[in-house]
Amino acid sequence: MHKEFLMGNAAIARGAIAAGLNLICGYPGTPSTEVLETTAKNNDGTIYVEWSVNEKAAMEVGAGAAYSGARTMVTMKQVGLNVASDPLMSLEYIGVKGGMVIMVADDPGPISSQTEQDTRHFASFSKLPCFDPSTVQEAYDMIQEAFEFSEKYHTPVFFRPTTRVCHAYASIDVKDKEEYKENKPEGFIKDSSRWVIFPRLSYNAHMNIEERNAELSDIFSGYGRNAVIPATAAGCRKGIASHGISWTYVREVLRGKEAPALFKVSTPFPFPEKAAVNFLKDLDEVLCIEELDPVIERELVYVCGKYHLNTRIIGKLTGHVKTAGENTCDSVRGDIGFFMGWGLQDAELPDIELPDAQPELPVRPPVLCAGCPHRASFYAVKQAMKGQKTIFCGDIGCYTLGNAMPLDMVDTCLCMGAGVNIAQGVGRIDPDTKCFAFVGDSTFFASAITGAVNAVYNQADMTLIVLDNSTTAMTGHQPHPGTGRTMMGQVVDKVNIEAVLRGVGLTAVETVDPLQLDKAVDTVKRVAAEKGVKAIIFRSPCAVLIKPDKPAVIDPDKCIQCRKCINSLGCPGIIISDGSVTIDNSLCSGCGLCTQVCPVGAISCGKEAE
C-alpha cells in the first residue's frame, strides 16, 4: 500500500487493474473518458485496451471477453448507455463468466451532457446490480469489490460514479503491484445452452435473476458500504438517507454537530431492504438527499408501505429538495437546516457581506477555440447559403458550439448521429428547404453512417457536412477509426470517410480545406445546388493539436474599426482593447480566416504580416 494523488476516474482504472483487469473498451464521453485513458497509460502490456467505434460495439466486445473468462470493463457516459442498451438488456439474461463491470458516469447538472438521466434506473430496468461510490478512495476500493460480485454471481454489474466523483482528486491508499490480483482467462468454451439467447432460456434466466436479486438485496444489507449510522443527537427520531457525492456533503454539513440517524446507500439496486428497515424502524421522518432522480426516496416509501412503518419520507417527491441540477455543500446545508429546524446560526450561513453593488460580470459561455477550423466551415456554409431557405442540423461534439452568436449555425441538436436523419425528416415535410447536417469525424464513425445509408436508400435531398479535424476533440483528443492509431499504440490503416460515403452511394463527395474560404464557399454553393444526397468533407486539423503559426497582425492605418471580423466570426483571438480591434497574441493561432473576412485587407498572417 502507498499514497497517491489520483483523479476519481484514474482511481477507478487503477482499482480495476489491481483487480486483474484483462480487457477494457468504451467510447469517450465526459465525465467517463479518463478511466480508459488511465488504463492505457498504466498498461504493462497484459491488458487489451480499445476505444470502440461506439458504446454498443464496446458492450459487445466486452461481452465476448467476459464470456471467455476475462475480467472486463466497459466505459461510457450516461447517454452512451442508451446506445449500448440493446446488448445490455439481453446480456443480463445470458450472464458472464469473467467479472464484467459496466462503468457508466452520470452527470448531475448537467455539466457536459444532453440529459440528467439516472443510470440507477437502468440498473433496475436491466436487473443488474449497481455500485455508487461517494469518494475517490471508495471508488478505488469498490471497483475491486464490484469485480468480485460480478464474478461470484455471473452477472455484469454497473459501477455508477457521478461527475464530482469522477473528476475529484484525493490522496488515497493504492495497492503495490505485488498486491494485484491476476486473472488468466481460459478462453471461450462452447455451450449453446448457455451463450445463445432463446425464449425458453430467457424464461428460466428471468426466474433465476429475480431469485438472485432477492438474495443480493439481503447480502447488500450486510455490505459495509451500505451504512446505517444511529443518531448522535439524544432522542432524535429523524434520519437522512443519501448516496454518492451528496453523502460527502451531508457529512461535511454535519461535521461537529449532533447528527440525526444516517443511511448511506451504495447499492441502489438491488436495494438493501433489510438495512433500510433497520434504519427506518425508530424514525418519524427521513430526508432523502439525492442527485438526479429520487431513487432512494421511492425505495424508502415502498419499504415503509411494505413493512407498515409510520415514517414520513421527504425529498424531491415532496418538494423539499430541488428536482434538477447538482447538489452543493450550500444546497445540502439549506436542506438539512430546514429539516432539522436549525436557526440561522446553526445553519452556518456564510459569514460574509452580501455582494451588493457587484459589477456586472462578463458571461463566459464555452466557445470554439481561436483557430478552430469548424468556425471556418460554419462561416463558409453560412456565406454560401445566404438568402436561401435552409436548416442546419447539428450534432454532438465541439461543433455544437457553432450554435453561439455570431455564427448561429446549429438549428437542431439531439443526440449522437441524429443530425443526418433529422435533416431528412425536415426535408420530407418542407421540400423547399435546403437541408444540411453537420457531423464530426468521430461522431460520423460512431453513429452517422447508418443515417447516410438511410438517406441514400430513401432518396433524400440533403447535404452532409463532415467536419473532419482528425480527432475526438471535445473529450480530449482520442483516436478513432479515421486517425489510424489505436489505444494499443498501433498504427493501422485509416478508415477513409470519402470511401465510406462513396461506397454507400452518395451522388457527390467533395473534400475541401475550410480555411481556404473562397474555395470552401464555392464548393458549398455548387454541391448544395445538386439534387440527392451529397457530402462535403471539411478537412483541417484541430487547432489545439497543431503548432500555432505566428499570430495575425492588424495594420492600424488600414483598419476602419468596422468590427466585421468580430461580428461575423466571434473568434476569441480577436478582442477590443482600448476601443480598438486587437489580436490577442496569446490565443491567435494564425489560421488566417479573419484575413479573408476583413473588407479592407487590414489583417495579415504569416509572411505577409512580416
Partner: protein, 192 residues
C-alpha cells in the same frame, strides 16, 4: 483544521496545473488532500475553478466546500475573483492577476470590459487583497507561461498555505520538464 483553497480563472490559464502542484506540496508535508475542478466543455474559454482542501489525517470528507469557507482565493482573472468571492471566508485572502480576459460575448456587445471595475470592487470588499500585475512580470521573466507560478509564489508568501516557497520549488522541480525549471523557480520566488 482544514485549509480551503479556491483557484479560479478562465479555461486555458493553467489553474488545474497549479492546483496539482499545491496538492503535491501538501502531500509531501504529510497532509491529506482532496480537490475538485472543472473539466469538460467549460474549459473552452469558460469560467473554471479548482477547490482544494488540505488537512492532517482523515478529516476531509468532501472535495467541495460551501460559500464563506475559502481561506484563500487565487484568481487568474479579475472578474473570476469577483464571481467566486462569495466563497471567501471573513478575513480571507485574495490574490488576483490584474489582466482581464475578454470573452467573445463582451467583444460582440462592444463592451469595454477591462477588469478595472472588478479590481475596484475587490479592493472595497477584501482586506487581504494582493493585485499581481502578471502580464508585466511575465514579460520581465520572458514567458507568458510563468503566470501560474507567479500567482502561486505570491500565495505561498501570504502564509495561508501550509508550506514554504522552498517546498513549492522542490515540488515544481519534480513535476515540470527540465527546460522549464529555471523559469518556474524565478516565478515562484518573484518578490511582488
Amino acid at each position: 483544521m482544514i485549509n480551503n483553497i479556491l483557484l479560479c480563472g478562465v479555461g486555458g490559464q493553467g489553474t488545474v496545473l497549479t492546483s496539482k502542484l499545491v496538492a503535491a506540496c501538501a502531500m509531501e508535508k504529510g497532509f491529506s488532500v482532496m480537490s475538485a475542478e472543472t473539466i469538460g466543455m467549460a474549459q473552452k474559454g469558460g469560467s473554471v475553478f479548482s477547490f482544494l482542501r488540505i488537512a492532517e489525517g482523515e478529516q476531509i470528507c468532501t472535495p467541495m466546500f460551501g460559500t464563506g469557507m475559502a481561506d484563500i482565493i487565487i484568481a487568474f482573472e479579475p472578474a473570476e475573483a469577483v464571481r467566486m468571492l462569495s466563497y471567501l471566508r471573513k478575513d480571507g485572502t485574495v490574490i488576483v492577476n490584474s489582466r482581464p480576459v475578454m470573452p467573445v460575448t463582451a467583444a460582440l456587445k462592444a463592451s469595454d470590459y477591462n477588469g478595472k471595475e472588478m479590481l475596484d470592487y475587490l479592493s472595497t470588499k477584501v482586506g487581504n487583497l494582493t493585485v499581481v500585475d502578471g502580464d508585466r512580470i511575465c514579460r520581465e521573466l520572458g514567458s507568458p507561461r510563468a503566470l501560474n507560478m507567479i500567482l502561486l509564489g505570491v500565495a505561498v508568501k501570504s502564509g495561508v498555505l501550509p508550506f514554504t516557497t522552498d517546498d513549492a520549488v522542490e515540488a515544481m522541480k519534480r513535476s515540470v520538464k527540465p527546460q522549464f525549471i529555471e523559469l518556474n523557480e524565478k516565478a515562484l520566488r518573484y518578490e511582488v
